[in-house]
Structure formats: C-alpha cells, structure tokens
C-alpha cells in the first residue's frame, strides 16, 4: 500500500512539475535560511563551552556610581584582588587576572610585527581556562619576569614550529629580554578572550607598578567557585574585601560587586562598559534571528499548505475514486502526508545544497567560520531529521485532513470546490499572515537602514574626513611624536598634523577629578591627551576660553573640558576653575580650566557623550593624526610610510583612517542589518513564490468564470482587476495588522542607540507600497495570461 502511495506521489510531483518546483524551491530556500540562522545562533551559544569548569567560572564585575556619568558596569578590578580573594574567601578555589592589550609591537629576530591578542596574566590561566601546552615547561611558563607563552599559530608564524619557538627571545613593546617559555594550543574561535601571546603578570608589575595599588582598576579577574558556593554571597565577600582595602577610593561610594558567569559573557555583556572581550555577541540579536528563522520556515510551510489546498480541486476526483474503492480517510491522510514527506525530503536535500553554496559568502559577510558537519554537529543529523518530520507534519497535516474530508460522491460529481474561494478563510488568513510578516520586515529594514545611514552621516561634532592616524607603539612617545609631526608636515598633500592619545582624542580609560573647593565635588571623566593642534585639525570648536599653547610654561596644568563635563559640574563660568592636583601632590600649580570645547561624539552614537577632560601631555600620546588634502589617500599613506621607515626603520607602520575606525564601531550594526535584510528579502521572495503559485491555481479555477465574463464583454483590464483585487484586499488587511507590530520592533531596535531617527508615517507607507507592488507584479503574471486567453478554450473544457 505504501509503495502505491509513494508511486503516485512521485508521479504527481513530476506531472505537476511547476507546482512541485514552487514547493521545493520555496521550502528549500526556507530551510536553507533556517539552517544558516541556526548555525549562526549555535555558534554564538557555543562560546566558552570548551572551558573545563565553565559552570563554576565567574568574572568579578563592578557596578560603579560614577559622578557625572551615572551607573556603569565595569569588569575590571584592582591588581591585588585575585590573590587576596583566593587567600581569604574559602569558596574561591582559584583565580586569574588578565589585562588584555589589543596590539603590541613585537620584534622577532630582526623584524617587527604587530602582535594582536596580547594578555598579561598569571600561571593559573592554563588551569582555569583548560589551555594545554604544546611545547615547553607546563609548571612555570608564566611565573618568571619577562616570560612569554605564545599560541601555536603565532609560533608557526614567527618560527615555523612550536619547537623552534621555545626559548627564543623577543623584543616586546620595544623592551628587550622576553623569552618564550612555552607554546600553547590555539584558542577556539568561540572563546570570548582570544589569546595569542601571554606575558607573565610579573612583567606587567615591573612596568606598571600602579597595578599593585588597590586604587587602580584594570585587571579582568576570573574566579573558580566551589560547586556549592552561592555567587551572590561570594560577591558580597569580594565587596567587603575591596572595602577593607579602601579600593577605588576615588569613587564616592564603593562599587557593588556581582559575579558574572563566564558562560554568559559572550551574549550578556553588552551592558558592561569596560571589559576584556573581543567578539561581543548580542542576545537580543540572537532572539531576533530566532524569530526570523521561525518566520521564514513558517512562511515556506504556509506556501505548501496554501498550494495544496488550492490544488485540492484537482485531486478531488482521485479522492472520490479511492474512497469509492474502499479507502478509509486515514488511508488518504497517510497518502497525502507521504507526499509532503517526499517534498520536504527533496527540499531538505536542496536546502543542504544551498547552505553549502552560500556558506562561504555568509561566513565572509559575518567574518566567522561556520561549517556543515554531518557527523559532529547534531544540527546536521538529528536536527535535520527533526526538521524533516516537523516540516512534513506542519505543512502536510492540514492539507491531508482537508483533502481527505471530501465526500466521495461530491468529489466524483465535481461539485466539490475547495471551499469556494481558494480554500476558504484559512487560505486567506495564511496569505494575510505571510504578507503581514513581509510588510513588518520591510518596515523594520527601512527604519534600521535609515538609522544606520543617520549614524554614518550624523554630524558627530568633529570632522574626521581625510584624517589618518599613525600609531606610535610605545617607547619615547613624546619625542617620537615630535619627530613625526615635523616630518609629516613637510610632505606634500599633508595639511595639519596633531598628536593625541587616540584618533578620537580620548584614551580608553576614565579617571576621577576633584574640584578644588570645599565641597570636594567629583567628576568621572574620559581623559584626552592631545597637543595644541588636535582641536583645529578635527574642526572641534572652542566655545569658551582658549586652546592649549605649547609655548606657555604652565600649560602642564591646563585643562580643556567638553560641554558635558561643564554641565555635569553645573558651572556657568568654567574658565579659571581649578581641580585638586591629580597626583595627590600639594603643588601650588593646580589643574586649571582654560577652555571649553563643544561636545563631539568621540565614541559611537550608541552611547551618550560623557564628560571629558583634555590635557597637554606628550607622554600620553599614542597616535599622530594627519589631515590630508588630495583625494588620493593612497599616495599620502605611501608618503607617511616612507617617512616612518626613514625615522624608525624596522618598526611596523600601523595606520587607520578615522572614517574606517568610525565605520568599525558600526560594523556589528551593519552586519546585523545586512543579515536582516538578506533574510527579509528571502522571506518576501518565498511569500511571492507562494502567491505566484496560488494565483496560478486560482486563475485556473476561475478560468470558466473569466471566459463567461469575457464572452459577455468583459475587458482584459476588468479581468485582471477581478483577480488582482482579491489579493490586494488581503494585502491591505496585512498592512493594517503588520505596521503596529513593525513599529514596536523598530522602536525597540532604535532604543539601542542614544541618538535615533524618528519613525515616520512614510516608513509605513513605503513598506505597504513595496508589498503591494511585489504582490501586483506576482499576481499579474497569471492574471494577464488568463485575461487575454481565448475564452473558447476554457468553455470547451467545461
């Protein structure tokens, strides 16, 4: 009996090739998109799962109340905390501190390289993160001064192999005498902290003695708790430990502490302002993609259901005959389900093909490395089986019951129409649902795209156009900066040149300043170390007072504030106001406000502009900014590189354009919107495909009616209108349902930005029009064919 079902199913699929193709193509695309999204989600959920004691591993996180800034979450702690915590808090079994640096110049033999993923850390890192050593001493690789451990890929890059790398000397950040004690295995891509070069904490202590101070706050601290420990209670003990040691006394109140599970870091650390975290994921985005994945698969299933119902008229006779010959309803349900099982299987095969085909591009788009693994990834064996069963049932059950319900006599007499208008209210509801989703998605894409455009083109308060930053890379930065400024200025095409702590003017860190009055008013500010040329190079207006003047002897104590700082302090006449000395010395010269600049967005407009204080401090320079004139950036960069190589032969020339840096801040947003747009287009295409098939069947059902109308004098336009109208009404209803939902989601998305576009009525109108246009084009193909066909043909078949 089953062989018979499959036989007839296959013959039906081949006989109705266009119908089969619409179904298989639609479902394949839907399943492929679904699988891609699942792979992507699976990747994000897999972060740090390789760590052996992940369930007991936590990161110590502070909630600070920062004056002038408000509440902020910080995953940094004082250097002495981890050692002390293991000693005095019994349930903390182990701890490690980590200070990550983005890029450090490293000299290997004669060549300089820019080394990424450098971390100062303790020996316990290997234990806690379960990192295995490939070569070298496992017990004290990071216990001695100037010891370094590198990853296998770094070893291969510099020395060809792990063995060759052992005991080799490095010049690290322009400092001699670092030795490679061991080579560790590479970290998986899905680790929140990438480690390619570990440097012993001892080395950091010698170089940065402030790390011993309970008032410094720059170490990521990870603790392993005993399985029975309660993280909240332990956090309280850590808080007490900090209080006992008078840690972070510059804050008016000591920070609250909580322990964040390391397994949560990748997706739930977006709220943490300061942390060592490279590939930050976004849980909301994951939820959004889960919704999109489900929507796409549901849309594809709806196509299947709608086409099956619409086509049921054609199958009615078969149902009638089978029932007459003794088929039970269950027999027929099995038969029609069998067809859906086969179609889904074909679609599944097609989907895998599509996934393989599109994965390289998908990976490139998102800068990740996802793979199809049939044996190692349950998504591709058990997962596919489940998808097969669920989709077969989801799309097959209703049509199977619908069709098998036909009464034998009615079906044989041909009086059975599949519920007068294409399957009745259910079909209509499904079309409305599909187009509601399409309109809502279009709406969200339009609003999001406008926001990204707004972000990219918003007046950030400074002019970063044609600005290049050349990194200084440590050493005597003040002298290097002076040399470079002079050299760069002499180049053709170069306009102004300025030195700064960062291309956006501010260093990554914050510090607290205290007003020199009796109230001891405090303010947490971003520090900016710049020279006198920076503001004019960036077109940042000085709205009160004056700019720095390097000729003045007392300029060391001069401070320029941004408007946000002045506002936070509640000052109306800021010029001449003084702060307490930053180094606790009782010098007569106190930091004095000499000017106020207008606010500019030194970080992305995801965040508000915070108070910032600028100082003329050549030791804090990290970058030399160059404003160039010609459009040809390439020749300017070549000129800069030649000058650099002349001045600092062998040192790596690292540069970045200000625009690129800015663009990088929105890369995640842009990637998300790209992905979102891609899947929206897919969802719309699948909906349109379904509509295309549905109209074909609908037109076929109505061919007799259309012929009679034509014989009676109906025009082609009237006939097209007749068919299109039916669908347009549905899309109108879809619009009414979709736009409020789209509005809610779009509004939520915009809330992630501190500055956002307003949602306008035109966003809604455009989405509705787009959906209507897509529908009209799709429906017109068949409507026109029916409208211009010869009525005699249809009537002859009657």
């Amino acid at each position: 009996m089953y062989a018979n079902y499959f036989k007839i199913a296959f013959r039906n699929l081949i006989r109705q090739l266009s119908y089969t193709l619409i179904n298989v193509v639609g479902l394949s695309t839907g399943i492929a998109a679904f699988l891609l999204i699942l792979l992507y989600i699976q990747f994000h959920l897999s972060f740090d799962k390789h760590i052996p004691e992940i369930e007991n591993l936590y990161r110590v996180t502070q909630i600070q109340q920062a004056e002038g800034v408000g509440e902020q979450h910080v995953a940094f702690n004082p250097g002495p905390l981890s050692e002390e915590a293991v000693k005095v808090i019994p349930e903390i079994k182990d701890a490690v501190r980590m200070m990550a640096w983005g890029a450090v110049p490293v000299r290997v033999e004669e060549d300089y390289h820019t080394q990424d993923n450098v971390i100062w850390t303790d020996q316990s890192v290997f234990r806690i993160f379960g990192i295995k050593l490939v070569a070298g001493d496992t017990t004290k690789a990071l216990t001695e001064l100037k010891s370094v451990v590198i990853s296998l890929k770094t070893a291969k890059k510099y020395f060809g192999s792990a063995e060759n790398a052992l005991n080799k000397q490095l010049v690290f950040n322009y400092e001699n005498g670092y030795t490679i004690r061991a080579v560790m295995e590479d970290q998986p891509e899905n680790a929140h902290l990438q480690m390619d070069m570990l440097v012993s904490y001892e080395s950091a202590l010698t170089k940065y003695p402030f790390l011993k101070d309970w008032n410094s706050n720059s170490m990521g601290v990870y603790v392993v708790l005993s399985p029975t420990a309660k993280p909240d209670e332990t956090a309280e003990k850590v808080h007490n430990l900090l209080t006992e040691n008078k840690a972070l006394s510059s804050l008016t109140s000591g920070p609250e502490i909580y322990l964040q599970a390391v397994s949560d870091i990748h997706l739930h650390a977006g709220h943490i302002k300061f942390q060592n975290n490279y590939a930050q994921g976004d849980f909301n985005l994951i939820i959004a993609f889960v919704i999109i994945a489900l929507i796409i698969i549901i849309i594809a299933c709806i196509n299947f259901i709608n086409l099956a119902i619409a086509r049921s008229v054609k199958r009615a006779k078969e149902v009638g005959v089978r029932k007459t010959l003794g088929a039970s309803r269950l027999n027929l349900v099995y038969q029609f389900l069998g067809e859906s099982v086969i179609i889904t299987l074909l679609a599944l095969i097609g989907a895998l093909f599509l996934v393989e085909l599109s994965l390289p591009e998908f990976n490139r788009l998102l800068d990740i490395q996802l793979k199809v693994q049939f044996f190692n990834n349950p998504l591709f064996n058990v997962g596919l089986l489940i998808i097969w069963i669920v989709i077969s049932l989801l799309s097959g059950v209703y049509p199977a019951f619908f069709i098998s319900r036909f009464q034998a006599i009615e079906a044989l007499k041909g009086t059975r129409e599949s519920g007068s208008k294409f399957g009745g209210w259910l079909s209509k509801a499904l079309v409305v649902f599909q187009f509601s989703v399409a309109i809502a998605l279009i709406f969200i894409v339009i609003v999001t795209s406008r926001q990204i455009q707004f972000v990219m083109h918003k007046d950030l308060g400074y002019n970063y156009d044609k600005v290049i930053g050349v990194a200084l890379h440590g050493g005597d930065v003040a002298a290097d900066a002076a040399l470079l400024k002079q050299e760069f200025k002499s180049l053709s095409g170069v306009g102004q040149v300025a030195a700064a702590s960062n291309i956006n003017g501010v260093a990554g860190s914050q510090f607290t300043i205290t007003v020199d009055d009796t109230a001891d008013q405090k303010l947490m500010v971003r520090a900016g170390y710049i020279d006198a040329d920076f503001f004019s190079l960036m077109d940042i207006p000085i709205i009160e007072g004056r700019n720095f003047n390097e000729a003045y002897a007392s300029e060391d104590e001069a401070i320029v504030l941004n408007q946000a700082a002045v506002k936070a302090l509640g000052w109306t006449n800021p010029i001449g106001k003084k702060f307490k000395s930053f180094d606790d010395s009782d010098s007569l010269q106190k930091p004095t406000v000499i000017g106020v600049i207008s606010d500019y967005h030194y970080y992305s407009i995801h965040s508000k502009i915070e108070p910032a204080a600028y100082m003329l401090n050549p030791d804090g320079y990290h970058i030399v900014c160059v404003k160039y004139q010609p459009d040809d950036a390439k020749s300017v960069v070549e000129g800069l590189e030649n000058s650099w190589n002349k001045l600092f032969p062998g040192k790596p020339f690292d540069w970045i354009s200000a625009e690129e840096r800015l663009e990088r801040q929105y890369r995640n947003d842009r990637n998300s919107i790209r992905l979102f747009t891609l899947f929206t287009v897919l969802a719309i295409l699948i909906s349109a495909l379904g509509l295309y098939g549905l109209t074909a069947l609908r037109v076929e059902q109505r061919s007799r009616e259309i012929s009679i109308r034509k014989v009676l004098g109906g025009s082609v336009f009237q006939m097209m209108h007749l068919i299109i109208r039916e669908f347009l009404i549905l899309i109108g209803i879809a619009g009414v349902l979709a736009l409020p939902v789209g509005y809610i989601f779009a509004k939520q998305m915009l809330e992630q930005f501190a500055y956002a576009v307003n949602i306008s009525i035109f966003d809604g109108l455009i989405s509705l029009l787009a959906a209507l246009l897509i529908a009209v084009i799709t429906v017109s193909v068949h409507a026109r064919r029916a409208a211009v066909s010869n009525p005699v043909n249809a009537l002859k078949n009657d």
């Binding site: 009996m1 036989k7 007839i8 007459t324 010959l325 006599i409």
Partner: protein, 228 residues
C-alpha cells in the same frame, strides 16, 4: 440481498429543500440484473449512491446482505464497500496518475491482499477483460471503450457480490457500449448481482428487471426477461 423500505433522501440548502427520493421500496435478490431508468433528475443516481453505500438515506430502512446499513458510519460503509461492491461509472473515474494495472490493483490494496496474490488476480482480470496488453498504459492513452473495460476490471477484481453501474455506456459509441454490456452480462451469468442506472432502452434489455423512477418515486417495475 438488498432491501429498501421507504427510502427517502432530502437535500437541503439554505433556501431550498429538494426531495430526491420519496419513500422508495423494493427488493433485489442475489444474482439479479436490475436496470434503474428514468428522466434526468428523477433520483436514479441518488438511489445508486445509497445502494452503493456512498451516501446515507435521510429516512427509511436499507438492508444490505441482511444487515441494516442506513445509519452506518463512513468507516463501516467503507469496509462493506470494499469487500462487497464494485463500481462502474459513466466517466470511468480512473486515476490518471496510475497505470491500467495499478488502477485495477487499487481495491485489492485497500483490502490488504499480499502483493503476489494481487499481481496474479489483476493479471487474471485483465486477461478476462482482454486489456492485458495495455496494462502498463495510463488511462489517457486508451480509447473510451478500453477505459471502461479497465473500469469494469477494477469493479470485479475483488470479486464483489454486487456491481453498481452508473450509465456505463453513456460515454461510449454503440460498438464499445455493446462490448461493455456483454461484459456485465457475462458477470451476471456467472452469479454477480448487477444494478445499473441507464438512459438507454437497449442497455436496459440486458437486465431482467427495470425499476422506473419519476420525481423520486417508483412508477413501475417490469420484468424484461425470465430469470434463468
């Protein structure tokens, strides 16, 4: 074999109530060949559908094989149908997607017969209907007469006690029509009970008895030839 007592069938729509059968009573014995005749809309097909257990009557009693079946469920009717009744339709009602062989095989599949036995039986019937050489063809590749022979083959393949034929020659030319009538006649001679709805006076002559319907009522019953 069949006993109808005051069978009534009423069709209702929102506005109209149509009585298709009005208290029809008759009996048909095993081995009979009965023709049901009457003008269009007189209730012939409705009667045949009830007799064939495709539909339930609105009133009255219907006994099939000495069992009251007038109020049976669809499942019970389906079971009775597949074991006891074969159908021949005016428009053949073959499934276009199945070959001749597969169409004929279908009732045996629903009866749950093992495939080896099925093959044997189907080939037997196709030989008997002289259509075996076309067994791999699809219905649309056959002439009307051949299609009807396939339909008859399908009707008899499960060796039903009763064959219901609804205008079996209505779509055929006279030569092919006669062929099909001879087939039915042979089946009847071999013991199968046949009930046939027809417009054709000539086809009716093959029957032993004619039931004439008009406006849902039996107006007379003639014996056309002696029961052998």
């Amino acid at each position: 074999m069949i006993k109808a007592e005051k069978l009534t069938k009423v069709f209702r729509t929102d506005e109209v109530e149509t009585t298709a059968l009005n208290e029809v009573s008759f009996e048909i014995h095993k081995g009979e060949f009965v023709a049901i005749m009457g003008p269009s809309g007189c209730g012939k097909s409705t009667l045949l559908n009830i007799l064939g257990l495709l539909d339930n009557p609105s009133g009255g009693k219907y006994s099939f094989l000495d069992k009251e079946v007038g109020k049976s469920s669809e499942r019970q009717r389906a079971n009775l149908r597949k074991e006891n009744i074969g159908f021949v339709f005016q428009n053949f009602n073959l499934i276009d997607e199945l070959t001749v062989f597969e169409n004929v095989e279908l009732p045996l599949i629903y009866l749950g017969m093992p495939s080896k036995d099925r093959r044997k039986r189907v080939n037997e019937v196709l030989e008997q209907m002289q259509i075996a050489h076309r067994s791999k063809h699809f219905p649309l590749q056959l002439s009307g007469g051949q299609q009807q022979r396939v339909a008859v083959a399908r009707a008899v393949v499960a060796k039903p006690a009763l064959i219901l034929a609804d205008e079996p020659t209505g779509n055929l030319d006279s030569a092919h029509g006669e062929e099909v009538m001879n087939l039915l006649n042979d089946l009847n001679v071999n013991g199968t009970t046949i009930i046939m709805v027809t417009h054709s006076q000539r086809d009716a002559t093959y029957a032993q008895r004619v039931i004439r319907l008009f406006d849902g009522q039996i107006i007379n019953e003639n014996i056309t030839k002696n029961i052998l």
